[in-house]
Symmetry: C2
Subunit: 206 residues, 2 copies
Amino acid sequence: MTRHETLRADTDRERILFASARLFREYGFDKTTVRQIAEACNLLPGSLHYRYRAKEDILVDMMRVAIEKTIRGITEASVTTQDPLQQVRAALQAHIEVLLSGDDMMYVLLFEWRSLRGAARKEMIRERDRYERCWATMLEALKEQGFIRPDVDTHLLRLIGLGAINWMATWYKKGGRYSLDEIGESLWSVISRGILAPKYIDMRKT
Amino acid sequence: MTRHETLRADTDRERILFASARLFREYGFDKTTVRQIAEACNLLPGSLHYRYRAKEDILVDMMRVAIEKTIRGITEASVTTQDPLQQVRAALQAHIEVLLSGDDMMYVLLFEWRSLRGAARKEMIRERDRYERCWATMLEALKEQGFIRPDVDTHLLRLIGLGAINWMATWYKKGGRYSLDEIGESLWSVISRGILAPKYIDMRKT
DNA sequence: GTCTATACTCTGATAGAC
DNA sequence: GTCTATCAGAGTATAGAC
């Protein structure tokens, strides 16, 4: 396959994924028909079938892209500083921004994994675990270094924190009452005061 | 309608709602067929249709029951004490317990409202707002009385806190690593330290 | 109130011409 | 690679006997 073909393929793939993501988000995976998807891509159903043999294949491919984007987001954000606290702060903000910046695939990733069955679902659960392990590693390191109070269970903390962020996808509206920065700062304000050892609380930057 | 008929109707209604909730949770609303529901209730599709004219009607009725249960849960919990901090603590635990105690309808309430369209969806949004206003009232009162630091935005706090709880429905497993009490205590530990004015932090009971 | 039987629509997926 | 045409099956909802 030549470089040109690769680029074309990526373009087509992305056009299908973006259009599908918008539809899956608005109507849900089950209520979206392959005819709708094809129409949104200016393709006929038969042509779409040539790219993706089944509707579920589109969903799986979309989720792979979305989770990769999320992992890349928090990874790149957290390497911009050496300060362990700032790394977590940056990763938190990155997760919020990747999730809420308007990419419908992120929304689909969170709420449509139930539409997957069998092997595809297992694969996505593995991918999600891979993402969560990034957080587990960060938080455990922070605790070992004494930043986090000993009585805090980092596993539960991760579930609570990521839950608060993921749920934002249900209420955040672009251009609404809060900016992404305000949201991130509020969350960090609560969580950092809630979990840090006393001597570090005043070291937080917002 | 006699008392006997009322009870019968409620019983039938509940049988249908419980069975539907289990199916909606397991397969999703869209993938659940009316034939499946009827079979799970030991009814034939025609008989089920006599009770509920459309599948969506079952979902709406179920959500009404679930949201009423939630509101009753936090209301009854918060009146057991006069201490404003303990009221919020109790309401928080009540929300966790109502949500995670195993009632499939609660799960459906959280994740299937997207399957509603038009008037039904609007009604559910109103109901959800009614519930959230209970929290808004509690939190604003707490702030006015000086328990919560002035820089905390109670609206955002509510969204963050309820998000953390609601997301628990995606990961909590009965009999798993954490009990409902542990989960509630961890969340309260983080949030209370995170938002309370300094002089109240040591007044918290866990 | 409950059942049998079915109408009618739309779905995902495919076959095969071009 | 893209299109036309169509399949087999599943979906909701209903009509009408009992």
